[in-house]
Amino acid sequence: CIVKIPLTKMKTMQEAIREKQLLEDFLDEQPHSLSQHSDPDKK
């Protein structure tokens, strides 16, 4: 007599994977961009 309803788990934003990759790219680039900031010509 038990009625089971399957539930779907999902992230709220479909772009999560795309954004995750963007974030990783951002962190990879960040150290370089910080060092470049010390050079006023490249700001």
Partner: protein, 330 residues
């Protein structure tokens, strides 16, 4: 890249299918133990939040009856305004005729706009429902559509369709060990008394005893902001991305287990459950402040045990005996 965006990524939600009307119109709903009303968007709703979701068309249902009573419902994630109506609801093979439900005509943007479900099906007590309405589970119980007045949740970490809500009984293959029963302290929310919260032997919350609301509609572990701030400082002294909830995943192995004591039983929540992996290197701490706004629960301190806790512990909601059963999920 704002930290606000990152927080949204981790709000995993669970939803299932119901139908409303004759012939049936299908909707995805969040089965929410933290509220008591059922609502779905109406075809009249022009909010951007509604346009992204399935909308109920009363004119296409031969069993719909309008009630012309205006309603407004406010959730942690947003709000809706609309009207009440009544129609046949079907959940799996459970059928309720003349179930009163809300039809939203105006919905807030933000979380309700982004979530993949259309509406909410509340499973808390009738005292929390719109006055004069009977919640879905009370109709299932009172009209003897189900044999036992219980329902239960198994929430899996995996995205496949293996998470389940069950009505009318408990399938014990979903949990390990014996169910531990905890009396409900106030028949409104699914609310129990908690006696302590510790980490590494330190009391991190609930020092004078507190109330814990078991809520499938909340993603994280939510508590008073000042206590959550202290917990985040304790477990994350070196936050990244200027966000106290973000930490390097390398830190997970050194983090303490959270111990919740409820009705004399200790419920451990290890770091790999309260920390969610956002990417290979970035992790997210699933604690959030904000329960200080819940001042009417008969206590000065309230915690909400959301999906983070419920993925670890299979939960049974027993309306016949006003108690919650918890056991480690299988």
């Amino acid at each position: 890249f704002s930290s606000h965006q990152l927080k949204n990524f981790q709000n995993a939600v669970y939803f299932g299918t119901i139908t409303i009307g004759t012939p049936p119109q299908e909707f995805q709903v969040n089965f929410d133990t933290g509220s008591s009303d059922l609502w779905v968007p109406s075809v009249d709703c022009q909010s951007p939040s509604c346009s992204k979701h399935k909308r109920f068309d009363p004119q296409k249902s031969t069993t719909f009856q309008p009630l012309n009573q205006k309603i407004e419902l406010v959730y942690g994630s947003g709000s809706m305004k609309g009207v009440l109506g009544s129609d046949t609801i079907q959940i799996g093979n459970l059928v309720i005729v003349n179930q009163i439900f809300g039809l939203s005509q105006n919905q807030s943007s933000g979380v309700l706009e982004q979530v993949p479900y259309d509406g909410i099906l509340g499973l808390a007590y009738p005292s929390l429902a719109i006055q004069g309405t009977t919640p879905v589970f009370d109709n299932l119980k009172n009209r003897e559509v189900i044999s036992e007045p219980v329902f239960a949740f198994y929430l899996s970490s995996r995205p496949e369709n293996i998470s389940t809500v069950m009505f009318g009984g408990v399938d014990h293959t979903y949990h390990k060990g014996k169910l531990q029963w905890i009396p409900v302290t106030q028949a409104r929310f699914w609310q129990v008394a908690m006696s302590s919260m510790t980490m590494n032997g330190n009391v991190v919350g609930c020092s004078q005893g507190c109330q814990a609301v078991v809520d499938t509609g909340t993603s994280l572990l939510v508590g008073p902001t000042h206590l959550v701030t202290d917990i985040l400082k304790l477990i994350n002294p070196n936050p990244i991305l200027n966000d106290e909830q973000m930490l390097s995943c390398d830190a997970i192995n050194s983090l303490p287990t959270l111990l919740l004591t409820i009705n004399g039983i200790v419920y451990p929540v290890p770091p790999d459950y309260y920390i969610q992996r956002f990417s290979e290197r970035i992790c997210f701490i699933s604690f959030q402040g904000g329960t200080e706004i819940l001042k009417n629960l008969g206590t000065s301190e309230t915690w909400i045990l959301g999906d983070v806790f419920l993925r670890l512990y299979f939960s049974v909601y027993d309306r016949g005996n006003n108690r919650i059963g918890l056991a480690p999920a299988a």
